[in-house]
């Protein structure tokens, strides 16, 4: 028996910052101090606090160490593990209140969270099926196979109100019901898991795969039982090597103990799972493209209907759900639909994981009940905007979503509210923008992504998004007219209305939502040839205010192109023709004599 356990995050973020080497060192030091029988090192999945990594939690106290370095390890072992003295300097600030160290769960970051999908992430060792079983794992599968009919299962999921967490928010139970009933006597059906997470900045699916892979296996087996499928495929991007590895380990373990394979729990139900690797095309997150890719074809969407529930993988009825959706299933089965509907809003039940990024203090993964306001997420959980800057907008839904301005900070986040304000849930990326962000540039950034990731099949997306991007470029370079803004908007609606798949249909959203809330910024670029946020270099001009300039020559010396001239102790001037607008002079000036605008 171990008296203490040290959990080290083995998610991609922390692994990149060396957490696995730290874990090795920790084990070495523990052994050296003769604590090997008392203290156990557990490599877990992601805790969601990626900006603080590598992170470590020491139980039973729950002491949270952040940004641990390999050289800190001997001290942690000798002081904390051996002598019980917390190494205060490494403890995460937020957990230190009035010199008292509190547990992570009591910090603002965690307090408002409600972890359902991420429940086991950062808690169990994902490479040990027994730890998953210890937290009630596979009980839901048992319950389903032994005590419920497929109809019962579908009903619970329908009643729970669970909606797809991958983008559109289609009711999961309805999807299962259609796949179960639509095609009578299908000789084969499939369950797919969409783990081709591609939204910039979103990584909740990766976290579940890395931190709790068995939940996916269990949920997919449940889905298989519900619709009558005996084979599942998990489509994971090849860029997620840790996730792929852990999932494979989990599948192997589940097979070994008979939780995958023939006659699971002696119920007569057979189910097996295989991994398919995606080569990193965003469009493969679109369900029909994903299935085309699994089939070995070019990953391109095909028209719907027919929907996958009727004709999916290999032309057979198929249920495709994303990772986060599946991660909710076993708990809904065990705790019941009522438990799940007790969280959330009228039409959006349960919780949602968000990946916080951009201009926000606590970047990382958070899971909150549906209906939590944007303000709570940004200010309470996310710790607000760094450097005391003003919140300008939050972008949700990735390249398919839109920008939400400050006026909507108090809107409860759920599927329908986000759509109503011109954005969408998407997979849960949440990028915060402050006053220094140019909204036209933001729109351009997302458009560039879509242009790159368009599969090229249909005309509106292949050529239309490219033209949209070019129009935005024309605006940010100061070459556009007001007519161009109208043309831009018209083209946006055309692409929305005419594209083949969801990727194209939503591609203009970043433009449309910024046009809706920040049209004045567009107009400023076009009419005044100014970028209000001071981002678009083509519209910027650096000038030296003669009154403030002391003639220290610092700016002239730092200018890489020799655009600044002047005599010592005399005001300097910038030759705008030569200036490349790098901003080096401005940051060098101690007297605030250089302004841009």
């Amino acid at each position: 028996m171990y008296r203490s356990q040290v959990l080290i995050c083995g998610g991609t973020g922390c692994t990149s910052s060396g957490s696995m080497k730290i874990a090795d060192k920790l084990e070495e030091e523990i052994k050296k101090n003769g604590l090997a029988d008392e203290v156990k090192v557990v490599r877990t999945g992601c805790f969601g606090l990626c900006a603080l990594g590598p992170i470590m939690i020491v139980y039973p106290e729950g002491t949270f160490y952040s940004m641990v370095k390999i050289d800190d390890v001997p001290e942690i072992v000798e002081e904390h593990l051996l002598k019980g003295r917390v190494v205060t300097r490494l403890v995460y600030d937020e957990t230190v209140v009035a010199d008292q160290i509190k547990s992570l769960n009591k910090t603002n970051v965690y307090k408002k969270q409600k972890r359902v999908a991420l429940r086991n992430c950062g808690v169990i060792n994902p490479e040990n099926i027994e730890e998953y079983i210890a937290v009630d794992g596979y009980q839901a599968l048992y319950k389903v196979l032994k005590e419920m009919t497929p109809d019962d299962v579908v009903k619970v999921i329908l009643d729970s109100g669970l909606r797809g967490r991958g983008g559109g928010g289609f009711p999961t139970g309805r999807k299962w019901q259609l796949a179960k009933d639509l095609v009578k006597d299908a000789d084969q059906k499939y369950v797919c898991c969409n783990a081709d997470e591609g939204d910039p900045g979103a990584f909740m699916d990766r976290s579940v795969l890395e931190g709790d892979p068995h939940v996916l296996i269990e949920a997919m087996a449940i889905a298989g039982y519900a619709i009558g499928a005996t084979q599942g495929y998990v489509y994971v991007r090849a860029e997620y090597p840790i996730a792929v590895n852990r999932l494979q380990i989990a599948i192997d373990q589940a097979r070994e103990v008979g939780l995958l394979g023939k006659n699971i729990f002696d119920s007569g139900f057979d189910f097996d799972l295989d991994i398919r690797l995606g080569a990193g095309a965003f469009v493969c997150g679109e369900e029909t493209a994903l299935m085309a890719s699994i089939e070995g074809n070019r990953g391109e969407p095909r028209p719907r209907p027919p929907f996958p529930a009727e004709k999916g993988l290999n032309g057979k009825p198929t249920v495709p759900n994303n990772v986060e959706t599946y991660a909710n299933i076993p708990q809904i089965i065990l705790k019941g639909a009522d438990w799940f509907t007790s969280m959330g809003t009228e039409k959006s039940k349960g919780t949602k994981v968000f990946a916080l990024g951009g201009k926000i203090n606590n970047t990382g993964l958070v899971e909150v009940p549906m209906g939590t306001t944007l303000r709570e997420v940004v200010y309470e959980i996310g710790g607000g905007i760094p450097n005391g800057k003003q919140f300008k907008a939050a972008q949700t839904g990735g390249p398919s979503g839109g920008c939400i301005p400050a006026e909507h900070l108090d809107i409860p986040i759920d599927y329908d509210n986000l759509i109503a304000i011109g954005s969408m849930m998407g997979s849960g990326g949440l990028i915060v923008m402050d006053e220094d962000n140019c909204m036209v540039v933001i729109a351009k950034f997302f458009l560039e992504f879509t242009v790159d990731e368009s599969c090229g099949k249909c005309t509106p997306c292949r050529i239309g998004t490219k033209r949209l991007y070019e129009m935005l470029e024309k605006i940010t370079s100061g070459n556009a007219t007001l007519e161009d803004i109208d043309k831009l908007e018209k083209l946006c609606y055309y692409i929305k209305n005419n594209s083949l798949c969801g990727l194209g249909q939503t591609a203009p959203n970043p433009v449309l939502s910024t046009l809706r809330y920040f049209k004045d910024e567009y107009i400023a670029h076009v009419q005044d040839k100014k970028c209000p946020a001071g981002v678009c270099t083509d519209l910027l001009q650096y000038t030296i205010i003669a009154d403030k300039c002391k003639g220290c020559t610092a700016c002239a010396r730092v200018c890489p192109v020799g655009a600044i001239s002047g005599t010592v102790k005399e005001p300097h001037v910038i030759d705008t023709a030569k200036c490349i607008k790098c901003g080096a002079c401005m940051s060098k000036c101690k007297f605030g004599a250089i302004i841009k605008g």
Binding site: M1, Y2, R3, S4, Q5, L7, D37, E38, K40, I57, Y59, P60, E61, G62, L82, K83, G84, R85, S103, N105, V123, I124, E130, E131, I133, A134, V135, D136, G137, Y138, Q139, Y142, K146, V257, G258, L259, F265, D266
Partner: protein, 122 residues
Amino acid sequence: MKTLEELMAIRNKMQSQVNLRAEDATVRVVVGMATCGIAAGARPVLTAFSDGIQEKGLKDVMVTQTGCIGLCQYEPIVEVIEPGKEKVTYIRMTAEKAAEVIEQHLIGGDVVAKYTISTELK
């Protein structure tokens, strides 16, 4: 694995391990683990407590260490802190005494008075 019993067997076996990571413990057993404590034999006491508590499946009890309390002559010292109650300090503990404390105090709710510092000081 074919039955619920098999599944639950694994669950029960592993649960105490995983429960260590739950932060809902209300009772804290604090073992003095400074140099003085270790020299006086705090290690086996600490192990006895953590093993015993996990064996008995006591969910809301957490075993933790602390540094020197300043009463070196009484080491190994163990404090049992329960919410809303006065802290109980056991002194000159051994693994055997630990088992008694678990049984009578942590499970039974009766302080093992003979080992407490207050008895000593009387």
